[in-house]
């Protein structure tokens, strides 16, 4: 049934679960769980970009953070090259992490304001005891030039850089350990369009040049379409659709994917299209609706949708969707 992952994939995420406890009552015991990520599975092939898209609170960033064990998982497996990261003992974790890096949304908040950026970038090398100080410095200059910055930038402090440059520094810091896989957590959301284009171009160039594998987390579908090979759409802690980029954007199957796509404003005033305007807000993951989690807002909801949860189905070749419209009852 669940064949969204494949042994040949570099990254295999299987049944990933992350719940947050909610404490209450006099004795502060657990009264409920926020189901931020609730049974998420996908695979990423080597050299591929998987886009993970969804609205705020859908759990997309939690997936990225839990995969790297920056957050303790509640359950599931994340295999990197066949090794389960989530089950690995602490001491081997450091070695695995060399290959897995992350770039965050807010480049300014993720750089130490009191360190010249050259030192921030070299920090990973120091922690992993790689090279002499001289070799480390040379490696820093090398990654700086890879992201389009100059040698002299290494001596400067974060406040001296613009937003786009800071995000390049964030990318340089992720690159310095020569990782195979990078989680890009909304890397361009805080940037102006012209700068966003620059950073997207750099990310694409680096992927080609270094054979990197990306998980690209974003809320902007147009950006995700631009950079991804395959795309997963999340809603309230679940993946609702997972398909190749062209399949997904040409022929979205899940009603949520369709609504999300039609909600994106297109910069073409001559274009007239029927918009699907969803009613209401995203429900809280604290108390998700029964059955399909999207059914209260779904324009095509049927009686079964509120009673029973649909399962992931391969509705078209390589196009997985979790919806009763495509599932035998």
């Amino acid at each position: 049934m669940r064949e969204q992952t494949n042994d040949k994939d570099l990254i295999q995420v299987e049944h990933l679960v992350k719940y947050y406890p909610v404490y209450g009552g006099v004795f502060r015991h657990v009264v409920a769980w926020v189901k931020a990520v609730d049974d998420v599975s996908f695979g990423i092939k080597e050299g591929e970009t998987l886009g993970l898209v969804g609205e705020s609170g859908c759990g997309k960033s939690t997936v990225g953070h839990t995969m790297l064990r920056l957050l303790a998982p509640t359950g599931g497996q994340v295999k990197f090259d066949g090794v389960d990261i989530l089950a690995a003992p602490e001491r081997t974790l450091k070695n695995i992490r060399r290959n897995l890096q992350i770039v965050f949304q807010d480049p300014f908040a993720s750089l130490d304001p009191r360190l010249p950026i050259g030192e921030s970038i070299a920090e990973g090398l120091k922690i992993h005891k790689i090279g002499t100080p001289q070799e480390r410095f040379e490696r820093v200059l090398e990654v700086l030039s890879k992201v389009g910055l100059e040698d002299y930038h290494a001596m400067r402090y974060p406040h001296e850089f613009s937003g786009g440059q800071r995000q390049r520094i964030g990318i340089a810091r992720a690159l310095v350990l020569q990782p195979q896989f990078i989680v890009l957590d909304e890397p361009v959301s805080a940037l102006d369009v012209a700068i966003q284009a620059e950073v997207l171009n750099i990310l694409k160039y680096l992927q080609r040049d270094l054979g990197l594998t990306y998980l690209f987390i974003a809320h902007n579908l147009a950006v995700v379409e631009h950079i991804s090979d395959r795309v997963a759409v999340m809603y309230l802690g679940k993946i609702v659709e997972l398909a190749g980029r062209d399949e997904l954007f040409r022929n979205p199957l899940h009603p949520y994917t369709r609504a999300l796509m039609s909600a994106i404003p297109i910069p073409d005033p001559t274009l007239k299209r029927e918009q699907i305007i969803l009613k209401g807000d995203v429900p809280s993951p604290l108390n998700p609706p029964p059955g399909c989690r999207f059914h209260p807002r779904c324009p095509q909801a049927m009686p079964i949708c509120s009673q029973q949860e649909p399962e992931m189905q391969e509705a078209a070749p390589e196009q997985w969707v979790c919806c009763w419209l495509y599932q035998e009852r």
Binding site: D192, V193, A194, A222, P267, P269, L271, Q275
Partner: protein, 339 residues
């Protein structure tokens, strides 16, 4: 519908500077535009280009160390900059109102949303408390808040971002203003909620027949909402035209760069166009055109005047103005490159 002879609002030579310890930041430095009755004017630009300060200047809400030092803001023939405080209060919220990017921080956390809408009526009308409360509930209904009678008693923290923005819109439209200034009204919201809010603004505009100044950096939102567009760069308007011309025949190199750098859904390009370099320092502006250092067209046509002398905002076609040396000569006439 468009009557350029009698615009609702006309901004002339507006300059708002911030007097900081590091120097004078020329956030808005000679801005001219107008808004016609019942139209949506899009004001577009990147962060720091002065679009929000322009809006605050119109509302006379610029705080120290900022100061509007020059220009005119003509509203129904009167210059808003010459009005005293009490005269301005009768206009603000009543004739011209504004909604902000962060709805949750713009609402007062210690009052219910109903009370905050009622306050608008208390300032500008003589209605009784009961009448105003009923009006507030009606407004919440109008902006699509479910169960408005109950929600009027809710505090801002009990609402989602989309609902809080609806409340802000309800407050702004309470007295059916002639002009609504919407400063990035959907930037903080998710796309499905953004679609709801834009839809609501469109409906309300048709309903109340007010004009809107829509400030945004999102060209997609502009294409869907605006009738006319003004593009801002480093404190100045660089191009102004109707929305179709803007996307079909953009003229200013900055506008061209901006449009080309946006990834468009369903139209994947291998590489996105970029605008090299950074926005100039607004304290120490370079002489000449403010975009010159980043301009690809300047290099292509080998223009030397760009770094020496600033071009004017000149009309190149009916209702289409551009501030660029490609389209004018030294005497302020149209240059060969313009149509």
């Amino acid at each position: 519908m468009h009557n350029d002879l009698n615009p609702l609002l006309e901004v002339q030579g507006l300059k708002t500077y911030f007097y900081t310890d590091d120097g004078v930041v020329k956030a808005v430095d000679g801005v001219d535009f107008h808004v016609n009755a019942r139209e949506v004017l899009g004001l577009v630009g990147e962060s720091g280009c002065g679009k929000s300060v322009t809006a605050l200047s119109i509302m006379r809400l610029v705080d120290s160390p900022g100061k509007t030092v020059a220009g005119k803001i003509l509203y129904e023939g009167r210059d808003l900059l010459s009005l005293d405080k009490s005269e301005m209060i009768t206009i603000r919220g009543n004739r011209i109102s504004m909604i902000f990017q962060q709805p949750q921080t713009s609402l007062n956390p210690v009052f219910t949303v109903g009370d905050q809408i009622v306050e608008v009526f208390q300032i500008h009308s003589q209605l009784s408390k009961k009448e105003t409360w009923e009006k507030a509930v009606d407004l919440l209904q109008l902006v699509g808040i479910p169960d408005p009678e109950r929600k009027a008693h809710a505090y801002p923290h009990e609402m989602s971002g989309g609902q809080a923005q609806r409340v802000m819109i309800a407050m702004a439209l309470a007295l059916k203003p002639q002009l609504l200034i919407a400063d990035e009204p959907t930037t903080a919201l998710d796309v499905t909620i953004q679609a709801q809010i834009l839809n609501l603004l469109r409906d309300l505009r048709n309903h109340i027949e007010s004009s809107i100044i829509l400030i945004t950096h999102d060209l997609g939102v502009i294409a869907e909402m605006a009738d006319r567009v003004a593009i801002m760069y480093a404190g100045r308007i660089v191009e102004q035209t109707d929305v179709r011309t803007l996307f079909a025949q953009p003229l200013h190199p900055y506008t061209l760069g901006l449009i080309a750098s946006v990834p468009v859904l369903g139209n994947v390009k291998e590489e996105l166009a970029t605008i090299p370099g950074n926005v100039p320092n607004l304290i120490d502006l370079p002489p000449g055109c403010r975009f010159a250092s980043r301009c690809k067209a300047r290099e292509k046509y080998g223009l030397s005047i760009c770094t020496a002398c600033e071009p004017d905002l000149l009309s190149v076609a009916e209702g289409h103005t551009v501030r660029c040396w490609l389209y004018q000569d030294g005497e302020g006439h149209k240059a060969p490159l313009s149509k």
